[in-house]
């Protein structure tokens, strides 16, 4: 038992290190100094108070989409629509803010609720298609992502456009989600994210409903034989995971980005899926991995700027991290490998 748990942590960590080694080799091959590169990475992510804060800011949307994935996959719902749901949330939040036309904290609350609701609805649609027509959610959620992205384009170029660039008006100052410390960009959104993560963790592992949801996710047939309403749980998972992503969108637009603009929100959904899978669908681990992803993102920006390596090197390292981490854990399920590793452990213990 202990050994398995240890391995579950050790394998991703080793895999990530390996991915880094390869990344550094690429940097070396480009004629840059890997040590220097790492130095820049650390400096970018942890170098100063501002940098530390930026990392947290970057982690926030990832925590939301990661948790959204976590929740859905735990119930056997393979929601790839995190991105669309995130955008649906942002769009609803900004639309409501701009339409109300007033300012103030109550607008913030209404906007956040609207974002959450809209995310939920955007999750519900593929849910209905799955439970009613049996459509594979992996396909439909991807389609809904495209629709959401294009609709966002419509909002910022036409419907809610303000000024010369295709973008919406910004959220009024008093409606923005406040900063925790005035001169750092961290907002209360991160607190919401962390509380949500803890709540999901509690829900999944310490409540009866969460227990049943997990059972449905692992084995829907057995669950239905044991009196659980599989369709209802799945639909709930669609809605809630959509709502989590939507809440993330609302927090992000009201706290960090302030307006819709071309390219907004790209990639958060898929990143969320990847990091939740690396975290083996554990909500607390998901938050940690999200933070790690953010470190990688922010740090690597500085690394790119400092060393002048192409931006794509960073993406390559990130993809390698995903591939190695997940491959590492699936390798552990192979009997041969498992046996081999266990033997290693045994030997160590014997010594």
């Amino acid at each position: 038992m202990q050994k398995t748990k240890l391995l579950n942590v050790l394998i991703p960590v080793l895999s990530i290190l390996l991915a880094f080694v390869i990344g550094m080799l690429i940097i070396l091959a480009l004629g840059k100094n890997p040590a220097e590169a790492i130095g820049y990475l650390m400096k970018g992510a942890f170098g100063s108070k501002t940098n530390l804060a930026n990392t947290v800011v970057r982690a926030m949307p990832l925590i939301f989409t990661g948790l959204s994935t976590c929740f859905a996959y735990r119930c056997g719902v393979f929601n790839l629509g995190g991105e669309g749901q995130f955008l649906a949330g942002s769009m609803a939040a900004i639309t409501v803010t701009l339409l109300i036309g007033h300012e103030g904290w109550w607008v913030t609350i209404v906007a956040v609720l609207a974002g959450t609701l809209m995310g939920g609805i955007w999750g519900l649609l593929p849910g209905i298609l799955k439970t009613w027509r049996g459509l594979n959610e992996m396909i439909t959620t991807i389609m809904f992502n495209y629709v959401a992205t294009l609709f966002m384009g419509y909002l910022y170029t036409t419907a809610l456009r303000e000024g010369s660039v295709p973008q919406t008006a910004p959220v009024p100052d008093t409606t923005k989600i406040g900063r925790i410390i005035p001169d750092l960009r961290i907002t209360w959104g991160i607190v919401v994210a962390i509380l949500l993560g803890v709540a999901i963790w509690y829900f999944l592992f310490y409540t009866s409903k969460g227990f049943q949801l997990r059972a449905v996710g692992f084995n829907p047939v057995a669950s239905s034989y044991n009196g659980l309403s599989v369709k209802r749980y799945m639909l709930t998972a669609f809605i809630v995971s959509g709502a989590i992503a939507g809440l993330g969108g609302a927090c992000d637009i009201l706290g960090t980005q302030f307006r819709l603009i071309s390219g907004y929100g790209g990639g958060y959904g898929f990143d969320g899926v990847a990091l939740a899978l690396i975290a083996q669908l554990h909500p607390l681990a998901t938050m940690a991995v999200a933070y790690f992803f953010a470190v990688l993102r922010v740090g690597s920006t500085t690394m790119q700027v400092g060393t002048g390596v192409p931006t794509s090197v960073i993406d390559i390292i990130q993809a390698l991290v995903i591939i190695f981490a997940v491959a590492g854990s699936s390798m552990m399920y192979l009997p041969k490998v498992r046996k081999f590793v266990m033997n290693l452990f045994e030997k160590k213990e014997a010594v």
């Binding site: 400096k43 970018g44 170098g47 100063s48 501002t50 940098n51 930026n54 970057r58 294009l150 384009g153 170029t157 036409t158 456009r161 000024g163 010369s164 660039v165 295709p166 973008q167 910004p170 960009r185 980005q257 302030f258 307006r259 603009i261 071309s262 390219g263 907004y264 929100g265 790209g266 990639g267 993102r297 922010v298 920006t301 500085t302 790119q304 700027v305 400092g306 002048g308 931006t311 794509s312």
Partner: protein, 307 residues
């Protein structure tokens, strides 16, 4: 802004961020070339980060600020938000926003604003004179205000010369979907368009490719390039409306050096030479036509065009 450093030894550094690629043969390339040319003229060091997501704008600029860059060049109004945010935290760094709005400048932010109306009009003049089918095409990337006013002036200038002109236009919704540019151009050719103008970066190169294909060996459909001088890149390029970013950026660099940076918009226009018409493809345009174009541009400058 900061007092100018008295020591002449100091090498200044400028960095550019860009969401598209600097090798896109369009906007990104033109802006990068502009920056390097300007930097070279004043002995600055340069750096760039391209192909970045919207979510990384601020982080990237912060990184440059932390690494001691003196100026950050953001070629597009889409960076304004991020610039405002970062500029507030780094009052000692100068920020120049190409196509930034007139309201944008602060103590350490300046806008660089080429005259989009004139750019559109120049292209419109050529199109109005050259079109034989009386249909001309315009492909936009995003519905930027600058793009919209280019389209509006392209249309009005062409119609001022030839009232029968009809303009077909479309937005690709992207600056890098080359294939979409091809399809859009193909469908416009099908509508009869024979002179094209575009404001969509890599999408335009797709459009030019479609035009070349439609032409075959005999160039009857032409394209007007921008913002660099694209003559020779494709057989169909008849001339280009050139925006001399380098000149405008150089002004900013100079202001940084002298410590007078900020609170200002650098305009670019026919008048100050930052906007001008590139060379003609002599095989496609006879001398007579070329002088006509030159006359109209003169009128444009005098404000008598279209009266």
């Amino acid at each position: 802004a900061k007092e100018a450093a008295p020591a002449a030894e100091k090498t200044f550094k400028v960095a550019m961020i860009c969401d598209s690629s600097i090798s896109d043969g369009g906007w990104g390339a033109a802006c990068y070339n502009g920056m390097t040319a300007a930097a070279e003229s004043r002995g600055w060091e340069t750096a760039y980060t391209d192909a970045i997501d919207q979510s990384a704008y601020a982080d990237t600029m912060i990184s440059y600020c932390d690494l001691g860059y003196d100026m950050i060049f953001a070629p597009g109004n889409q960076y304004s938000d991020a610039v405002v945010q970062v500029a507030a935290d780094y009052p000692n760094v100068a920020f120049a926003v190409l196509n930034g709005s007139t309201e944008l400048p602060t103590a350490n932010i300046m806008s660089i604003l080429p005259n989009a109306d004139q750019i559109g009009s120049i292209a419109g003049i050529i199109a109005g004179l050259m079109s034989k089918t009386n249909v001309i095409g315009f492909i936009g990337g995003m519905e930027l205000d600058t793009t919209k006013s280019k389209l509006a002036h392209f249309t009005s200038a062409a119609q001022a010369i030839n009232p029968d002109i009809k303009v077909v236009s479309a937005y690709a919704g992207s600056f890098n979907d080359t294939a979409k540019g091809m399809e859009l151009a193909a469908s416009m050719i099908n509508e009869g368009a024979d002179v094209f103008f575009g404001d969509a970066s890599a999408v335009d190169s797709g459009a030019r490719q479609a035009i070349d294909q439609a032409n075959g060996d005999n160039v009857t459909i032409v394209d007007i390039g921008q913002p660099a001088d694209l003559l020779g890149q494709n057989p169909c390029v008849v001339s280009s409306v050139v925006t001399d970013n380098a000149a405008m950026i150089a002004i900013c660099l100079e202001k940084v050096e002298t410590g007078t940076f900020g609170n200002e918009v650098v305009f670019g226009s026919l008048e100050n030479g930052a906007v001008y018409l590139g060379k003609f493809n002599d095989a496609l345009v006879d001398a007579d036509m070329q002088t006509k174009v030159a006359d109209y541009i003169k009128q444009l400058q005098d404000g008598t065009f279209g009266n």
